[in-house]
Amino acid sequence: MTDAARNFVETYERERDALPGAGLAWLAARRADALRAFADAGLPHRRLEDWRYTDLARALDKATLSPASQPSGVVELPDAAERPSIAVFHGIDRHVAIFVNGRLQSDLVAELPHGVTLVQLAEALGEPWARPLVETKVATQAGNVIALNTALMRDGLGLHVARGVKLDKPLHLIFLANDDGASHMRVLVRLEEGAEATIFETHVDAGARSYFVDLVTDVSLARGAMLDHVKIQDESAEAIHLASLTAELGAAAKLSSFSLTLGAKLSRNQSFITFKGEGGEAHVNGATALAGSQHGDHFCYVDHAVPHCSSSTLFKTVLDGASTGVFQGNVMVRPDAQKTDGRQMSNALLLSRDASMNAKPELEIYADDVQCAHGSTIGELNRDAIFFLRARGIDEHTARQLLISAFLDEAFETVSSGAARDDLRALAAGWFERHQEKTS
């Protein structure tokens, strides 16, 4: 076992009685099982096929590992001019919940529509709908690391929307870090039949530099429920960010998930989508822009366990400096999952000599009456296109920015909220501006 892994095990031994839901027998057993599984497997490393391009074990071994502390006093927010991510979605009417160092720091929204329950993790774990969410199983190796979160989850939220109810405004979860250390958070979302909700999520550093964020979001959508999820990750350049999304979709349920990745030294976004009822629809998309020595990994596993479902995945990656991008996707079509429509696309642009990209879009198909396709491209900015723009009097800098924006825009188009889309575009444009200033 690596030092980092041993450290996590010790944290569990030390703090298990203080962790939320400590009084629940099923949870205590679940945490103990999870810790055992984690202790056996250790932290994921590159010898595991699902982690082929990302070595979390090595990255964490070099990082600070004490649990992140309870923030005291006033948390100073970074200047929005410097870190525009902090101000994202501000123009949208929304509910806000703020976490600092993995702990809820704001009062939870009081006025919610009838039928909507929003509670802190400790309370949520006592709800009958929470247990199946915590016990969601993932059918691939990459999901094993969720055990670490299950054992150590310290805070988070539970959102439950009753049948036919629509959450009136988007729920915006803001995760800040002002102290180096590890934080393990869990968000549980259950939408009953025909319910609808939109969740925004922002991850930004607020004073901390080298820290580890471990967030697991478990989603369960009943028949016809709809969830829209938009995430922005702009952690400090020395942070390690691990986020896993598990989602189970009932019949005719719809999930739309988008993530913009700008920050962190090493980030890994994992999505595990399982169709449980016919007619489900899932869209998992993302855009990534990295520079320096950043490493960004998107892993997406879509499990078509039942017929007549459709899924699409689109990831756009822009890599500058000596950054590394990874896309690992898998569309699994189980026997009898006929009439499946599965699509998967990864496009990457390498802007510099030292950037590199690895893609592994995988199809695993056990049914015949399906339409599945995937594609992957890796290349640089089209020189002819730059020349075309320059020939029309547009300077090289602007030409490049135009082309990069156009490249990323295809991914932003998949975000359904127009206001959120504009914010994402502005952030991406800002990334380019800031970044080009640094290099030029």
Binding site: L363, Q371, G375, T377
Partner: protein, 484 residues
């Protein structure tokens, strides 16, 4: 839809089609003792009258093999192989050194006839030189004289070791090192024979070179070793084709093929593989664990792999290209058809090291019955490889609801000037296409064959004329057993 139903019915009818080439020839053979040890290797080496350095090379590989583990990552499953329960050497008995075909064992010639490889006819009509490998020893080599005229060396591997040791020493293991992988290392230790080809600088080989492999002796692993060198500006087209008799026991085949193309040279390597795939219940069949790799060592060199895979119970095969030379080019065209309980895990690797190198991958997988058909490929661009271009297309066609198709591509780029494109689709035969054919009076069976042939066309077109006919026949036979 009626057409589909009829197709399915006709599939069921012919699914029991027996392996046409399943028969055994009764020929006495000389065997090494059962099992694998240093003694077995010394026995093989002595049988082949090999020099000391060759024996040492084998023993070194064997010692390394002992420390290695069988690879488990492929999407195939089979009972564990007992490597001590196999014969590693079997040679058909020879009466004396052979001067011409007339001296070849008439039983052997009869076998070839059944396989549809009339050597004599081929000599006269097709202009193809055949180095026929029966079990492990090459027994007949034709057109030697004609090839010798232009300086082409085409001979059994064991002969090359004796006659051209300097070439063998220089190139053997330089593409697939003896430590490469479990099966390649095993092959390095016990390889029995194979073909050796050397094309001198500037020579365009005057004919297609061809080898027919055949596994005959019961419980005998077949460990072929092929080494092809195209010197500067040379060109050669090499054909490899296989059929094997029906058997109950699983047979292991672990061949190694090494290709080396120097400056401006081109090697075209085509394979039609139709080994016994096991019966309709998945019993028996060949295990095919092959390491094939080409090294585009020189500038502007080109290596092209074309394969039609219809046989074997388990296939584990990734013909690859190391694109070392500037402006070198690698190509991979593949049709893999699996039926009944066959398992295929095949694909290619294109490793771009040289500037302006380019590669193209076209893979067509057709799965029927209960079979599993996986494409696994790597396209990798190293830091110094400027302006690399790759295009990959891998399509899978599923026939029946119990089969499976997988696509596992690895795409790795460390150079921004590289342009890599990968696309893959998986689908079944479209009802519309079938309906269209049926409407015009084309029987369902023929319609399916037509559509599948169209699906494979890009690859079939790449085969040399001499092979195309056989390949199309093979695709047809495989389809008979699956769709009609």
């Amino acid at each position: 839809m009626a057409a589909v139903r009829e197709t399915v019915e006709s599939v069921d009818q012919v699914a029991g089609e027996k392996y046409k080439y399943g028969f055994t020839t009764d020929i006495e053979s000389e065997r090494a003792p059962i099992g694998l040890s240093e003694d077995t290797i010394r026995f093989i080496s002595a049988k082949k009258e090999e020099p000391e350095w060759m024996l040492e090379w084998r023993l070194e590989a064997y010692r390394r093999w002992l420390t290695m583990e069988e690879p488990k990552w492929a999407k195939v499953s089979y009972p564990p192989i007992d490597f001590q329960d196999a014969y590693y050497y079997a040679a058909p008995k020879q009466r004396a050194k052979l001067e011409s075909l007339d001296e070849v064992d008439p039983k052997l010639l009869e076998t070839y006839k059944k396989l549809g490889i009339p050597l004599v006819e081929q000599q006269i009509l097709a202009g193809v030189a055949v180095d026929a490998v029966f079990d492990s020893v090459s027994v007949a080599t034709t057109f030697k004289a004609k090839l010798a005229e232009v300086g082409v060396i085409f001979c059994p591997f064991s002969e090359a070791v004796r006659e051209h040791p300097e070439l063998v020493k220089k190139y053997l293991g330089s593409v697939v090192p003896s430590s490469d992988n479990f099966y390649a290392t095993l092959n390095s230790a016990v390889f029995s024979d194979g073909s050796f080809v050397y094309i001198p600088p500037g020579v365009r080989c005057p004919m297609e070179l061809s080898t027919y492999f055949r596994i005959n002796e019961k419980q005998t692993g077949q460990f072929e070793r092929t080494l092809i060198i195209a010197d500067k500006g040379a060109y050669v087209s090499y054909l490899e084709g296989c059929t094997a008799p029906q058997r109950d026991e699983n047979q292991l085949h672990a061949a190694v093929v090494e290709l080396i193309a120097l400056d401006d040279a081109e090697i075209k390597y085509s394979t039609v593989q139709n080994w016994f795939p096991g019966d309709e219940n998945g019993k028996g069949g060949i295990y095919n664990f092959v390491t094939k790799r080409g090294d585009c060592r020189g500038a502007r060199s080109k290596i092209s792999w074309t394969q039609v895979e219809t046989g074997s119970a388990v296939t584990w095969k990734y013909p690859s290209c190391i694109l070392r030379g500037e402006e070198s080019r690698g190509e991979f065209y593949s049709i893999a058809i699996s039926n009944n309980y066959q398992q295929v895990d095949s694909g290619t690797k294109m490793i771009h090291l040289g500037r302006n190198s380019s590669s193209r991958i076209i893979s067509k997988g057709i799965a029927a019955g209960f079979s599993s058909n996986a494409y696994r490929g790597l396209v990798s661009v190293h830091k110094k490889a400027e302006n690399v271009r790759n295009f990959t297309q891998c399509d899978s066609l599923l026939i029946g609801s119990k089969c499976s198709a997988h696509t596992v591509p690895y795409i790795e780029s460390k150079n921004p000037t590289a342009i890599l494109e990968h696309e893959a689709t998986t689908s079944k035969i479209s009802d519309e296409q079938l309906f269209y054919c049926r409407q015009r009076g084309v029987p369902a069976e023929e319609a399916v064959a037509l559509i599948v042939n169209g699906f494979c066309r890009d690859v079939l077109q790449q085969l040399p004329m001499e092979f195309a006919v056989e390949a199309q026949k093979l695709v047809g036979i495989s389809l008979e057993g699956s769709v009609g």
